[in-house]
C-alpha cells in the first residue's frame, strides 16, 4: 500500500507514463495505418484518424466505426472527468478540504466542455447559422440591396465580436442572441412594412422571413442550451454534495470507477428531474418548432427559385406522392373486389 498522501502525485506520474506508453503504441500502430495521417498530427489524434479511416465501407463497417468513435468519446469523458475533479482530489490530499468550498474547486470551463460534448452543444454552429443568414442575404441582395446591407452588417457585427471568449459563457451568448434578435427586428425585420417593389417582392419577403426564422431558431437554441448548461452546473453541485456526504460518513471510493459511477448516476438524476419539468418541454419545443418553421420556409424559398426551371419541386413531388398513394389504394381495392368476384364464382 502506498503512502496515501503521495497517492495522487503517484497517480499523476503513472498517468503520464501510461500516456507516453500509449503514444509509443500509437506511433507503432500509425505505421500500420499510414493513410490519412500526417507526421505533424498529434500521435494520438493521428492514430485515431488512421484507425477510423481503416474501417471498411458498408453499413456494418460504418457501425463499427461509429461505435469506436463513441467509445473514444466515452473514455475521453472519463478522462475529462478525472481532470475536472483533480483539484478536489488534491484538496483532499492536502487536507485543505472544506465542504463549503467544494464548488470552488471545480473549473466551470471544463464542466462546460464536458457537457457541450455530451449534448452535442456547438456554439460554433450558432455562429454558422448566422453566417448562413449572411450568405443568403448576400445571394439575394440583388433583389433588395438596401435591406440586405443592413442584414449583412448585423451578421458581420455578430461574427466579428469576441465570439471565442463569449462562447465559454452561455449567459453571454444568450445575451448576444437577444441583442442580435433585437438588431434584426430593427433592420431586416422592417422589410415587412415596405411597399411593393415589383415582381420579386415575394421572393425578398420569403428570404427575409427565412432570415428572421433562422434568427429566432438561434435565439431559442441559445435559451435551450443555457437551460441545459445551468442544469449541468446543478448536476455538478449534486456530485459535490454526494462526495461531501461520503466524506462526512467516513466512506471511501475504492477506485475511480466508483466515482465515475456516482457522477453518471447523480447527473442522470439531475437531468431527469429537469426533463420532467414544464420549462424544459417548453424550451425544447420552442427550439424544435422554430427549427421546423425555418426548414419549412427554406423549402418554400427553394420552391420559388426552382419555379422557372425544368426541375420537379417538392410540392409537385408531394402531389405525385399523394396521387401514387391514392392510386395504390384504388388498385388494391379493385384487386380485392376482383378476387371476391372470382371466389363467388
Amino acid at each position: 500500500m502506498e503512502n496515501p498522501s503521495d497517492y495522487l502525485d503517484g497517480w499523476m506520474k503513472i498517468q503520464q507514463q501510461a500516456i507516453n506508453a500509449l503514444r509509443d503504441q500509437a506511433l507503432q500502430v500509425q505505421s500500420l495505418y499510414q493513410n490519412g495521417a500526417t507526421a505533424s498530427d498529434n500521435p494520438f489524434t493521428s492514430w485515431s484518424k488512421s484507425v477510423l479511416e481503416a474501417f471498411p465501407f458498408g453499413a456494418d463497417g460504418n457501425l463499427a466505426k461509429d461505435t469506436f468513435s463513441k467509445t473514444q468519446f466515452g473514455t475521453e469523458a472519463m478522462q475529462k472527468l478525472y481532470e475536472l475533479w483533480q483539484p478536489l482530489l488534491n484538496a483532499i490530499r492536502d487536507k485543505s478540504i472544506d465542504p463549503a468550498n467544494y464548488g470552488n474547486l471545480t473549473d466551470p470551463t471544463k464542466i462546460k466542455q464536458l457537457f457541450d460534448k455530451l449534448f452535442n452543444f456547438d456554439f460554433d454552429a450558432i455562429a454558422q447559422l448566422q453566417n448562413q443568414t449572411k450568405q443568403i442575404t448576400d445571394l439575394y441582395e440583388q433583389f433588395g440591396k438596401p435591406w440586405a446591407d443592413v442584414a449583412k452588417t448585423q451578421s458581420a457585427n455578430f461574427l466579428n465580436g469576441d465570439y471565442s471568449q463569449n462562447s465559454l459563457q452561455p449567459e453571454a451568448i444568450f445575451t448576444q442572441m437577444k441583442a442580435s434578435m433585437a438588431m434584426f427586428e430593427k433592420s431586416t425585420g422592417r422589410i415587412f412594412s415596405v411597399p411593393a417593389l415589383g415582381k420579386d417582392r415575394e421572393k425578398i419577403e420569403q428570404i427575409s422571413k427565412y432570415a428572421k426564422a433562422l434568427s429566432t431558431f438561434s435565439s431559442k437554441q441559445a435559451e435551450y442550451y443555457q437551460l441545459m448548461q445551468a442544469t449541468g452546473y446543478e448536476g455538478t453541485q449534486a456530485v459535490i454534495k454526494a462526495v461531501a456526504a461520503k466524506v462526512g460518513a467516513g466512506e471511501k471510493f475504492e477506485k475511480f470507477d466508483d466515482f465515475f459511477a456516482l457522477w453518471i448516476d447523480s447527473n442522470e438524476k439531475t437531468f431527469n428531474k429537469l426533463f420532467q419539468t414544464k420549462e424544459f418541454s417548453e424550451k425544447r419545443n420552442a427550439m424544435t418548432d422554430a427549427g421546423f418553421t425555418a426548414r419549412k420556409m427554406y423549402n418554400e424559398i427553394i420552391e420559388g427559385q426552382l419555379f422557372d426551371l425544368p426541375i420537379a419541386r417538392r410540392s409537385e413531388m408531394d402531389e405525385v406522392y399523394k396521387l401514387v398513394y391514392d392510386l395504390r389504394k384504388k388498385v388494391k381495392s379493385l384487386e380485392s373486389q376482383v378476387q371476391e368476384l372470382k371466389t363467388q364464382r
Binding site: 502506498e2 496515501p4 497517492y7 495522487l8 503517484g10 497517480w11 503513472i14 498517468q15 501510461a18 506508453a21 500509449l22 503504441q25 484507425v51 458498408g58 456494418d60 463497417g61 457501425l63 463499427a64 461505435t67 463513441k70 467509445t71 468519446f73 466515452g74 473514455t75 469523458a77 472519463m78 483532499i92 490530499r93 487536507k95 455530451l118 449534448f119 461520503k246 467516513g250 466512506e251 471511501k252 471510493f253 475504492e254 475511480f256 466515482f259 465515475f260 453518471i264 447527473n267 442522470e268 437531468f271 426533463f275 418541454s281 419545443n285 424544435t288 418548432d289 427549427g291 421546423f292 418553421t293 423549402n299 408531394d318 406522392y321 398513394y325 395504390r328 389504394k329 378476387q339 371466389t343
Partner: protein, 443 residues
C-alpha cells in the same frame, strides 16, 4: 481527515489505466475487422409482400404445438430483428423451439412516397392483408396476434375491428392508456408540435426519433454504455453482441408522417383509444369489442412504455379470459434479456397452447377476406373452456368437449365438434417445457 482514495494501490491504478488503453487498442483492431454483423438469422421464408412491407414465415424448429399460427406485429420504430438478435438470445427461436408456428411483418423503410400512409392504412390495410395472407398460408380461419410495443397497440386496434380473424391477442409492452405521466416519452410527446414536425419532413427521419430516445438517459446511453463496453471489447463474441444491439438501436426507419401525426395527436395527446373515440377510416375503435383471450405483458421497469399505459388494456376489453403478466425488467429486456428467454417465451407458448384449437380448417380454399361469422361461436366456446387453463397442463384440455354442447347452428356445431376432438389435442405433441413446473405470472 479521510482520504477518499486511500485504498487505491498505485500499481493497480497503473494497471487500470493501461488496461483501458489496451482494451481500446485491441477493440479498435477487432472493430476494423468487422464487415458484417449478422442479425435475424432464424431461417424464414417470404410469403407475402406489399409496397415496402414483407411478411415472413419462420421455418418450424419443432413439432407443432399449436394449430393457430402466431403473427408478430412489430412497431414501426426500429427493426423487428431485435426479436431474433442472435441465435442464443432469440425470442423467435425460442417460440419456434416450443412448437409455435410463427410469422412476422417487416415494415421496411418508408420513403417520401409513403408520407401519406395513415394508421388506417397500416391497420386496416397492411395488417389485415397480412392476417389474410397468414390464414391462407396456414390454412386457418384465425391467427393469434402478437403485437410488440406500438405494434401491440396496432394489434389491439386491429383485434377490436376484426375480431372474427383473431383467435388470441398478445400484447408486449404496448401502450393503450396514454394519460400516464410516468414516462418522459409520454410527457414530451404530449407537448410536441407533431404537425410542424410532419409538415417539415413528410417522412420523419429515424435519426431524429433516435435522438429523442437517447435524451431519455443521456449519461448512461451516451457515456457509460461505451465505457462499460471497453470491458468486453477484447472479446470478439461479446463485442459482436454489443454491435448487434448497436446496429438495432441505430437502425431506425423513418416514420410515415400522417401515421405519426395521428398516433401522437389522437393517442398521446387525445387518449382517444382508451376513450373509445379513435376514428380509423369510417370506423370508431372500441376496445370493448375485443372478446378473445388476451395476454397483456408489461415490464416492471419500462422507461419507454410505463406499466400503467400497458395494463390498462385488460380493463378496456370485454374478454373474459384475460391474463396480465409482469416481466421483471425493462422495455428491451423483454425480448433480449436472459430471463425473457428462460421464462417469458415459454410462458407465452404455454398460454397459446392452452388456448389453441386442435386442428386447422380442412378447406383447401383460401379463407375469405371477411369470414362468415359462423366460425366465431365455436371458437368462443373453446375460449370459454380454456379460460382457467393457464395453470392447467395441456393434456387436461379434454373438457373442450363441452364446446360440443354449445347450442349452435349446424355449421357452428360441426366446427365446434372439430374443435372438441381430444384426439387433436394429443396429436399435437406437448413440448417438455410445458410439463415442467411453471410459475404462474403475477396478476
Amino acid at each position: 481527515m479521510n482520504n477518499l482514495f486511500s485504498n487505491f494501490d498505485a500499481k493497480a491504478a497503473l494497471k487500470q489505466l493501461s488496461d483501458v488503453n489496451g482494451k481500446l487498442m485491441k477493440g479498435a483492431e477487432l472493430l476494423t475487422d468487422v464487415e458484417d454483423i449478422d442479425v435475424g438469422t432464424a431461417p424464414k421464408q417470404l410469403i407475402y409482400e406489399e409496397d415496402k412491407l414483407t411478411l415472413f414465415h419462420y421455418k418450424p424448429e419443432a413439432k407443432k404445438a399449436c394449430g393457430i399460427p402466431v403473427l408478430v406485429v412489430y412497431a414501426l420504430v426500429n427493426r423487428p430483428y431485435m426479436l431474433d438478435i442472435q441465435p442464443d438470445r432469440s425470442f423467435i427461436r425460442n417460440l419456434l423451439n416450443l412448437g409455435l408456428d410463427v410469422y412476422i411483418i417487416d415494415w421496411g423503410y418508408p420513403t417520401q412516397s409513403d408520407r401519406y400512409l395513415s394508421m388506417d392504412d397500416y391497420i386496416n390495410g397492411y395488417i389485415d392483408n397480412c392476417v389474410d395472407a397468414v390464414r391462407k398460408h396456414a390454412k386457418t380461419d384465425k391467427v393469434s396476434l402478437m403485437g410488440v410495443c406500438q405494434g401491440g397497440t396496432f394489434s389491439g386496434i386491429y383485434a377490436s375491428l376484426h375480431p372474427e380473424k383473431v383467435h388470441n391477442l398478445i400484447t408486449l409492452v404496448a401502450p393503450f392508456d396514454f394519460t400516464t405521466d410516468d414516462a418522459l416519452l409520454f410527457n414530451w410527446s404530449k407537448s410536441m408540435d407533431v404537425d410542424a414536425l410532419v409538415d417539415a419532413y413528410g417522412v420523419v427521419p429515424g435519426s431524429l426519433m433516435n435522438d429523442g430516445f437517447l435524451m431519455l438517459m443521456p449519461f448512461n446511453l451516451n457515456i457509460k454504455k461505451y465505457v462499460d463496453m471497453l470491458h468486453v471489447m477484447e472479446d470478439k463474441e461479446k463485442l459482436l453482441n454489443f454491435l448487434r444491439m448497436e446496429k438495432w438501436i441505430f437502425d431506425s426507419p423513418g416514420q410515415a408522417g400522417e401515421c405519426l401525426r395521428q398516433f401522437v395527436n389522437d393517442l398521446y395527446k387525445g387518449n382517444k383509444l382508451a376513450k373509445g373515440t379513435l376514428q380509423l377510416g369510417d370506423k370508431t375503435v372500441n376496445l370493448g369489442d375485443i372478446k378473445m383471450p388476451i395476454l397483456t405483458i408489461y415490464a416492471s421497469a419500462d422507461h419507454l412504455v410505463p406499466p400503467a399505459a400497458t395494463k390498462a388494456l385488460n380493463d378496456l376489453v370485454s374478454s373474459e379470459d384475460k391474463t396480465l403478466y409482469e416481466f421483471q425488467g425493462g422495455h428491451i429486456g423483454v425480448f433480449v434479456g436472459a430471463r425473457s428467454q428462460k421464462e417469458l417465451a415459454p410462458a407465452i407458448a404455454k398460454w397459446l397452447v392452452t388456448r389453441d384449437v386442435p386442428a386447422p380448417i380442412k378447406s383447401k380454399e383460401a379463407p375469405k377476406k371477411s369470414p362468415a361469422p359462423a366460425i366465431e361461436k365455436p371458437v368462443a366456446a373453446v375460449t370459454e373452456v380454456a379460460k382457467p387453463a393457464i395453470a392447467k397442463p395441456v393434456v387436461k384440455k379434454a373438457p373442450v368437449a363441452k364446446a360440443t354442447t354449445t347450442k349452435a347452428s349446424p355449421a357452428k356445431a360441426t366446427k365446434a365438434k372439430t374443435a372438441a376432438k381430444p384426439k387433436a389435442v394429443t396429436t399435437n405433441a406437448v413440448p417438455e417445457v410445458f410439463k415442467t413446473t411453471f410459475k404462474k405470472p403475477a396478476k
